[in-house]
């Protein structure tokens, strides 16, 4: 429709219907996402006196958290968790996706097996891993004859959590990447074969550039969920665990502040900080993607 043209009655009716059709989603977003976010922002400037009574204290919560070492430790733990899980997870997921894309027997079964962790409840998955990691009776230490305190040694506990996170997410990421891989036309590889390119060259010159848009999307998703990691650590590490400060993420700290200590103002400030962190990481990624993501197909 051209600009300046008045809408006919029928067109206006159609437009109204359009609004009505999207209304449930928009209202849902406003009520369930946008409004709580505004409230969280406001709460972060307040002290929670108890039972929903708040007192405005300006930047007090932020000043308080920026002065506590636990907070900075939790911020570093969160970033460390991202560093441990995202690159390795993406690499393994790509590897799995390529294997699943190859001509092998029982492809369907393998795809199902790799996807299975995704359909298990995270809490149940973590409970099973806790037993695998158990220092005294766990299968891991029994198998290798070692005595590593997987979830109570402050140096190892994060790696243990990262292993579980990578294991749970590989299948899902691999399926997304698989879809990307299947979009690559076979003719590129045929041409490369005629030119005598090795498999390695083919991977770097064809596969990687062609799958890079999908890889980029998966990376953004994975990083965001890694920054928000909570349930895994909560289930894995209890409050009396001596390694708890070495593994508690920002969201775990938020939970302890808001729901155990009842300081919802401090908790909200931690959440806002996390939002900023995710925002910063995502902006960096979008700047960085120009260097490696290839949209010309």
């Amino acid at each position: 429709m051209k600009k300046g043209m008045k809408l006919s009655v029928a067109a206006r009716r159609e437009e109204n219907w359009g609004w009505i059709m999207v209304a449930p989603t928009i209202i849902g977003l406003i009520v369930l996402n946008l409004w709580p976010f505004v409230q969280t922002l406001y709460t972060s400037f307040c002290e929670h006196l108890g039972f929903g009574h708040y007192k405005f204290i300006g930047l007090g919560n932020y000043i308080e958290i920026f002065q506590t070492p636990e907070f900075w430790k939790a911020t570093w733990n969160t970033i460390y968790f991202c560093i441990l899980t995202v690159p390795v997870g993406l690499f393994l997921a790509l590897l799995v996706a390529m294997l699943l894309n190859a001509k092998i027997k029982g492809k369907g079964i393998f795809r199902t097996i790799f996807f299975l962790p995704m359909v298990c409840a995270p809490a149940a998955v973590t409970m099973v891993w806790r037993w695998i990691f158990n220092a005294e009776y766990g299968i891991l230490n029994q198998m290798f004859g070692t005595h590593v305190n997987w979830i109570t040694d402050s140096k190892v506990v994060m790696i243990a959590c990262a292993i579980v996170a990578i294991w749970s997410n590989i299948g899902y990421d691999a399926v997304l990447l698989l879809a990307g891989l299947q979009n690559i036309s076979k003719s590129y590889y045929e041409a490369a074969n005629i030119d005598g390119a090795t498999k390695v060259t083919q991977f770097f010159q064809i596969t990687l550039p062609m799958v890079s848009p999908t890889l980029f999307v998966v990376m953004i998703m994975r990083l965001m969920s890694a920054v928000k990691v909570y349930d895994l650590i909560y289930m894995m590490v209890e409050e009396t665990n001596p390694a708890v400060t070495s593994v508690q993420s920002l969201m775990y700290l938020f939970y302890r502040e808001s729901f155990i200590a009842g300081s919802r103002g401090t908790g909200s400030a931690i959440v806002i900080w996390t939002v900023l962190l995710i925002g910063a990481i995502t902006v960096l990624q979008f700047i960085g993607q120009k260097k490696w993501v290839n949209y010309d197909v």
Binding site: L49, G50, F51, G52, H53, E70, R130, N134, A135, E136, N149, I151, T152, D153, S154, V237, E238, E239, T240, N241, P242, A243, V244, T245, R256, F259, I260, A261, G262, S263
Partner: protein, 432 residues
């Protein structure tokens, strides 16, 4: 034929609306919800509810169980929107927070018509204290009373040739027995882990110290008795016969005990019946003994056990407040408390209604010296609390964790713990 879909959708809409209104009572009776957190007490709670219904046929009470952690998140959210359950359990950890905010109905004069001194006449001072708010008014009808004691494995004591613990036992006996059992059988001795109520608190009070001062406005971590108790308790993990905190993070002392890996740990009487039922293969192999006493306390006679108690509460502004008050009034009577005791899950608070609890173990054929729990009430110490407890409980635990994993000395931890409790308490007092 166009009308049919319209009629169908109308019918559907009406059914939906009807099912909504179905949430309300349709049988003309008042339905109350009673929220608790301990699944082991569901039967005894349902029994006293049914006893109330037998007297008041038009009131039906449904017991709902929520796990401990969720319980408090849910209850607080419900309190904010004034949709608290009609009746619920209240714990000493939280009662001051709730009552200071006026969330709980004042039940001080609940029995004024029959006996103005009802509580004083029928409940112990500790029970009343556990159900009181900061203003000294009652915000719950005392439900039960408990204390903690030493649980020991008889077979391991026999194998090591050590006499069973009794009421003459001191800290020194605890240490030497632990060492002997570890030497002779390879099993752990007393399993001392990082916990307050089930851990260092009792030892602090035995040594003549305190966690909070009498008026609950300051912490007592700077007092010599407290330091003595803490040094002893925290130091226990230095021994070979006690697993370290890393071990306990994965294996709870109770689990280690009933897997016959360790010989002693501290348990509360509310868990006894549960343990008997869940570990039938251990039947006859274990027993309980009084808390060992401090041989040279800074003050007092060296005896102490933390004694806690729950109470029945209702919301201050609940829609069914009058009926709910009548129900909890019944829950506080001798009749209801006798009935609750008889299930062996908790010792009723009402003085003179304890015996059915102990009989329950005989009846079920469990050979345990449960009477010890009764004797221990004599030197029970009220479960430590003040209005700021939800704020300081976790940070204090964190400080102590740093001692257990070698990140700081006990002295600096004590100083930090003192500061944390004092600051949070002062904030709370200033806020009110």
């Amino acid at each position: 034929m166009k009308k049919i879909p319209r009629i169908a959708s109308l019918v559907l809409a009406i059914t939906l609306l009807l099912s909504l209104s179905g949430c309300g009572a349709t049988d003309g009776k008042t339905h109350l919800k009673f929220q608790i957190w301990d699944v082991a007490q569901r039967d005894s709670m349902q029994a006293i509810c049914d006893a109330y219904t037998a007297k008041n046929p038009d009131v039906v009470i449904e017991v709902q169980v929520t796990s401990w952690n969720e319980y408090w998140t849910k209850l607080e959210a419900a309190a904010e929107s004034n949709t608290m359950p009609d009746i619920f359990w209240m714990h000493t950890n939280q009662i001051l927070y709730y009552s200071d905010f006026g969330m709980l109905a004042d039940v001080t004069d609940l029995y004024a018509d029959e006996d103005p001194n009802y509580y004083q006449n029928h409940f112990s001072e500790i029970s009343i204290g556990n159900a009181s708010g900061s203003d000294g008014r009652m915000y719950g009808v005392p439900k039960d009373k408990d204390n903690i004691f030493l649980v020991y494995n008889k077979e391991m004591f026999d194998a090591a040739g050590v006499a069973y613990p009794d009421d003459t036992w001191t800290w020194d006996d605890l240490v030497s027995a632990s060492a002997q059992i570890y030497d002779k059988t390879g099993k752990y001795g007393y399993m001392a882990y990082n916990d307050d109520q089930m851990g260092y608190w009792s030892f602090v009070y035995q040594a003549g110290g305190c966690i909070l001062t009498e008026d609950k406005t300051r912490a007592g971590f700077d007092q010599p008795g407290t330091k003595k108790g803490m040094e002893f308790y925290v130091g226990l993990q230095q021994n070979d016969w006690c697993p370290n905190q890393a071990y306990f993070a994965e294996t709870a002392p109770g689990t280690a005990f009933f897997s016959e890996i360790g010989s002693m740990y501290i348990e509360g009487n509310w868990e006894l019946m549960n343990k008997c039922i869940n570990f039938p293969n251990m039947d006859g192999k274990w027993d309980i003994a009084p808390m060992p006493k401090c041989p040279d306390p800074v003050s007092g006679d060296g005896r102490a056990t933390i004694s806690n108690g729950l109470c029945y509460s209702t919301a201050a502004h609940g829609k069914t407040k009058e009926i709910a008050l009548d129900v909890i009034k019944f829950f506080g009577t001798e009749e209801a408390q006798l009935l609750a005791s008889s299930y062996g899950a908790a010792i009723s608070a009402y003085t003179g209604t304890e015996q059915p609890y102990f009989d329950a173990f005989d009846k079920a054929g469990y050979d345990i010296n449960v009477e010890i729990v009764m004797d221990q009430f004599e030197y029970g110490v009220q479960n430590v609390n003040n209005a700021a407890k939800p704020k300081w409980k976790s940070p204090v635990l964190d400080e102590l964790n740093k001692v257990y994993n070698g990140q700081q000395s006990l002295d600096s931890a004590l100083a930090n713990m003192q500061k944390i409790v004092d600051t949070e308490t002062a904030k709370k007092l200033a806020g009110d």
